[in-house]
Symmetry: C2
Subunit: 343 residues, 2 copies
């Protein structure tokens, strides 16, 4: 399962495995690779048509389907020397499944496109498939289809499909003044892990593991929807940036009470390790900056009506007010936190 693990996927060095490691996807060819990757993926019980036809056909609970797509590009979203293929598969699945959960939906299926150089080892592609299938399984979903192509750089394109479990979808635009702002899941761990890897460090291990394999709180999405969440978002660009998206879409101000944010012990340990480490000259690392701007933990942020009983997985971190933008502790916030591509 795609939970936290210290380090990369365990190698199973039996004969088949050694053969897979030795041959490239170019040598195996497209159809052989599809068959071998499909063999790593359990068949979806709810699929009317699964992997191997022109398209997959799925049953959904009602007449609504939820769909989201994301890209992972080598060198931008992952590095092969920092993450193993199982990790990368988990991460690719997680970031899409979290988008579906952030609508209040239950993840059901993934479609995966893999573009890769022909000298990629078959073993790498198969472990990627294992990671995708494992993380899908953690969310209760299955890989139901995909596509392969040659390319100069690895690009993984994942589409997640989900189904509504009775509630209406929770968008970014429903937050109202006086609503409670809450988060589910960890913040800042992935950013701390990335900073550690950049400095050549591997400890604290849970921060590094969080960067390699985020653990979105999938159940918290449908739970929030069922309990009347007025808006919800997957935190992929950073807490401030993503609450900014809710603020903009809802026409409100989101005020974060920073004292309520959990600065995990590993974040403090990571900051200390970095301050003492070989790259210490790069400036003093700030755990609060990771919590406010770290984008790849795929925690969920949501707003609930005033007086709502905040559900189990969720922690209150602030309030919605009249106005615009995101404030910290009642004060206008100026600074640039969050991630934009191409910048």
């Amino acid at each position: 399962m795609c939970g936290i693990r210290n380090g990369h996927a365990t190698a199973h060095l039996d004969t088949t495995r050694s053969l897979e490691a030795a041959i490239t996807i170019g040598e195996l060819g497209e159809f052989g690779l599809i068959a071998a990757m499909a063999a790593r993926m359990p068949r979806a019980p709810a699929a009317i048509v699964g992997i191997g036809d022109d398209a997959a056909v799925l049953r959904v609970r009602d007449s609504r389907v939820v769909a989201s797509t994301d890209l992972l590009v080598e060198g931008r979203h992952f590095r092969r020397d920092w993450s193993g293929p199982v990790d990368i598969g988990c991460k690719a699945a997680a970031q899409n499944l979290a988008d579906v959960a952030a609508m209040g939906a239950v993840p059901e299926a993934l479609l995966v496109g893999l573009a890769a150089p022909s000298d990629l080892p078959v073993a790498w592609a198969l472990d990627l498939a294992s990671g995708l299938a494992e993380e899908a399984g953690r969310a209760g979903a299955y890989v139901v289809g995909g596509d392969l192509s040659g390319a100069s750089q690895i690009v993984i394109a994942v589409t997640a499909l989900g189904t509504m479990a009775g509630s209406d979808p929770v968008t970014r635009s429903g937050a109202r003044p006086s609503d409670i702002v809450a988060v589910a899941g960890r913040l800042g761990y992935s950013a701390a892990g990335l900073a550690l890897l950049e400095a050549g460090l591997e400890q604290p291990a849970d921060a590094v593991a969080a960067h390699r394999r985020p653990q979105p709180p999938y159940d918290a999405g449908p739970q929030a929807a069922a309990l009347g969440a007025t808006s919800m978002i997957d935190i992929s660009d950073g807490l401030i940036a993503d609450l900014g998206h809710i603020a903009a879409a809802s026409g409100v101000l989101v005020d974060i009470e920073t004292a309520r944010l959990d600065i995990g012990a590993s974040l403090i340990a990571a900051a200390k390790a970095l301050a003492l480490g070989p790259a210490a000259a790069a400036g003093s690392p700030d755990p609060m900056a990771w919590v406010l701007s770290g984008g790849e933990d795929h925690a969920l942020a949501a707003t609930f009506p005033p007086g709502a009983e905040i559900p189990t997985h969720w922690v209150e971190i602030g309030r919605v007010r009249e106005g615009k933008g995101v404030w910290l502790d009642g004060m206008s916030y100026r600074g640039e936190f969050g991630w934009q591509h191409f910048r």
Copy 2:
């Protein structure tokens, strides 16, 4: 509309346009580019949630959803000097929408991932968006979501979603001995167009246009499903290769009567142009080879029960028999026709 056009997209050289052409996607940034691309895409009337949230939410006709994903990689599936961005958008949409139609489903929506270098002109990305939206419109579908990322090479990842219009999905595995084999749509035009472009030729224009913008017969898919088609496939690897997939999945032999295959006049003209052209030394081009192995017209192939009245868009081209593989005119076929990636 994404029909056949001679040459590239017309340039609209007003002021806005010149500005877009001058600035790059790196200068505009991710969020600005998303907004500008979304502005090129009409809002889906059936979308409960469209572009701009964590995921799209769509209404489907019953409790089934059809989904397929495909990648287009620069230098492999398209060349920017041979095809304009509107063309490439149309082609990216068409090849996915055709997969949905090949299940007998009605295309409803597209999700689009674009990975591109930051020096890509904004105008190129916007014209790609226009092409995607136009071809989706030709199939009755809409772009409902997407993702953007930086990359060293352009990769376009499209997922198409569709809905069943009463019938059951038509897979590759239902062909039975004595069934009629039929095709809908053109064969060989895209391959001829590619050969012309490779030789530096632009005539016959309809073959070149067919390579730039395939025109899958979307309606023929649900029509075949409603009329009892026993198997169906989108011809993306070539007629022989894709009928080979039906033969393998159904455990039958498919026998093509080559005299029934339509060798379009433009294919003959293209072969003549190539035989006389500057690259003539490369060997004599064969229109029948384009028809049998050309893979990017996205025609549909299907089988119908014996005695079935073949619907309007479809042309009978052979029979299903007991056995294995694909035969031509009652004879075992040896040769390699069709496309595999990484090979």
